[in-house]
């Protein structure tokens, strides 16, 4: 394999490992946090007890990390898939020479693209009934609002391929429609665009969740993105930051929170590099 292909494979593997770890973490997340003996377990650093230490309440930090993964992972994945699906549709429509499809997609893009993203997302979040609070509707809304950009890029990439002329030339050569659309157009040419856009959306949804939960924590309000019994990574960041400001030894909590955020960003970057076109 060419050297570039090895590098791409390595990046993709790195991204996939982190994603895999997040999925496993989300599956292993405890439904409720443990109730430890405060005197014994509060504020334990990394080396003194549970693997990542404990917070001021004696609750192991790993539990927060796992629960936070549970809050963000699946919704972020689903949002990424929504964007990927729409981008594929837009790319294929540009090549299939179905004039109304291309027009319909452009219309969708123009209308949706004009909406103020954050406002719409907040409206959706606030409109959800309390017992249905979750990141899913917020994430999917964010993905739909971000889709026009991805669809545009996919359609232009397909257009640069030659669009309908490309399809016709390969049909005349004797390739099946499946091979042309799925292998040549989607896999070889659109893969880069799709993975890049989807990875970005995943990262954005995770950060959106952390931002919304951080706000809720700081106002001591219920979060818009998860139930009260669950905690997001924002808890690590908020607790860690406020405790340090207040003089408590919670660097390890803040450190874990920042590492999780950095790992998410790195995962998105790894997927982007792994899917770069030749």
């Amino acid at each position: 394999m060419r050297r570039a292909a090895w590098k791409s494979a390595a990046w993709t593997a790195a991204g996939a490992s982190i994603l895999g770890a997040l999925v496993l973490a989300s599956l292993a997340a405890p439904e409720f946090l443990s109730r430890p003996n405060l005197a014994e377990s509060a504020l334990l650093p990394f080396t003194g007890g549970p693997i990542l230490g404990t917070d001021i309440r004696g609750i192991p930090i790993t539990e927060y990390a796992l629960q936070g993964a549970g809050v963000v992972t699946m919704p972020a994945l689903v949002s990424a898939l929504v964007v990927a699906f729409l981008a594929i549709v837009a790319g294929l429509a540009r090549c299939a020479a179905i004039s109304w499809a291309d027009t319909a997609i452009q219309l969708f893009s123009e209308l949706v693209g004009a909406l103020p993203r954050l406002v719409v997302v907040l409206v959706v979040a606030l409109a959800m009934p309390a017992e249905w609070r979750s990141l899913f509707p917020i994430g999917v809304t964010w993905a739909l609002l971000a889709a026009p950009g991805a669809m545009d890029e996919a359609a232009s990439t397909a257009g640069r391929l030659g669009g309908a002329k490309f399809v016709e030339a390969l049909r005349a050569h004797g390739f099946t429609a499946t091979r042309i659309y799925l292998y040549h157009i989607v896999w070889l040419n659109l893969r880069g665009v799709i993975v890049r856009q989807s990875a970005d959306i995943m990262m954005q949804v995770v950060f959106l969740e952390i931002a919304l939960s951080y706000l809720a924590e700081s106002q001591q309000q219920p979060s818009l993105t998860h139930q009260d019994s669950t905690f997001s990574w924002a808890r690590l960041l908020y607790d860690g930051y406020t405790a340090i400001v207040g003089g408590l030894p919670l660097f390890h909590e803040l450190f874990v929170g920042i590492t999780l955020v950095a790992a998410t960003a790195f995962m998105a970057q790894a997927f982007r590099r792994g899917a770069q076109a030749r």
């Binding site: 030659g162 490309f166 005349a172 050569h173 004797g174 390739f175 040549h184 070889l188 040419n189 076109a277």
Partner: protein, 286 residues
């Protein structure tokens, strides 16, 4: 024929044998193709345009036939109809004796490895993410069923025959126009087809590259394969073909057999030697 510049190679008409006693590769019988052009407004009536009007011809095994004319003459439409890229309005198309125009696309697909099309725009037929070698290997594996190793060997040989042995790892955007054209040819010729239909294979190329592409295409054709190519250049037709069908407004106005026939129809004479005629009014492009 004296009016055309001398060729620097032996004419195909004198060197490539034609097997006219065998059944024809292509039998184009009374084919017409009309298009409906929509009017300017949604309620305006559509206009019927006849692109091809009752054209008939045959291509024997080994024969190279040129469709010659200016733009709008119908030559490109005929070339697209031969392989079913356009559906015909009336008439019949037979390839190797079997009806082609009646087949569904699924039925045609199984036969396409034998009847190949080379589009005018080479770049639009190439996948920007595949190297020259990958293009040819894919065609051989998918269409002929070779294993990866067998396809690799055959593909490298084909690319070497076309002077691309140094460029096997190049992507389309890294290649010149002539190289891109040769990759599309390599992919087609590697299948050892019975028929190649090429739409203006030399358009967009410099004069010296044009000769090279035609040489590559015709010299690498299997001996009993037929070839139809579309051109507006009568000199190209004379140098590389056995016959030329001169088309004007959807009809064949004259058929010339090289090297001996001289054009008699005024339009054919005009295309043949534009400097030698006084009246250019038959031209559709000026």
């Amino acid at each position: 024929m004296e009016a055309l510049p001398k060729a620097d190679h032996e004419l195909v008409a004198t060197t490539r044998p034609v097997f006219s006693d065998e059944p024809p590769v292509v039998d184009f019988v009374g084919v017409s193709k009309t298009f409906m052009l929509p009017g300017p407004w949604p309620w305006s009536p559509s206009r019927q345009v006849t692109a091809v009007a009752e054209v008939s011809f045959q291509v024997a095994p080994g024969e190279v036939v040129a469709l010659v004319g200016q733009s709008g003459s119908g030559k490109t439409t005929v070339s697209r109809c031969v392989l079913g890229l356009e559906d015909i309005t009336s008439g019949q198309i037979l390839l190797d004796g079997s009806r082609w125009d009646h087949l569904t696309e699924a039925q045609r697909r199984h036969l396409r490895s034998r009847y190949q099309y080379v589009p005018q725009d080479a770049l639009s037929a190439l996948d920007p993410q595949q190297t020259a070698l990958e293009h040819v290997v894919e065609s051989l594996r998918v269409m002929v069923g070779l294993t990866r190793d067998q396809a690799d060997v055959r593909a490298r040989k084909m690319l070497a025959d076309l002077g691309l042995s140094e460029r096997t790892g190049a992507l389309p955007r890294e290649m010149s126009g002539g190289e891109q054209r040769r990759v599309t040819l390599a992919r087609v010729l590697a299948l050892e087809p019975r028929l190649i239909v090429a739409d203006e294979p030399t358009s967009g190329l410099d004069a010296d590259r044009q000769e090279q592409v035609l040489e590559d295409m015709i010299n690498n054709l299997p001996p009993k394969a037929g070839c139809i190519f579309v051109t507006h250049d009568m000199a190209q037709a004379r140098n590389w073909c056995h016959r030329a069908l001169v088309m004007l407004e959807g009809r064949v106005v004259e058929e010339l057999r090289f090297p001996h026939d001289q054009p008699t129809h005024p339009y054919a004479r005009m295309l043949f030697d534009p400097w030698g005629v006084d009246d250019l009014s038959l031209s559709t492009t000026t």
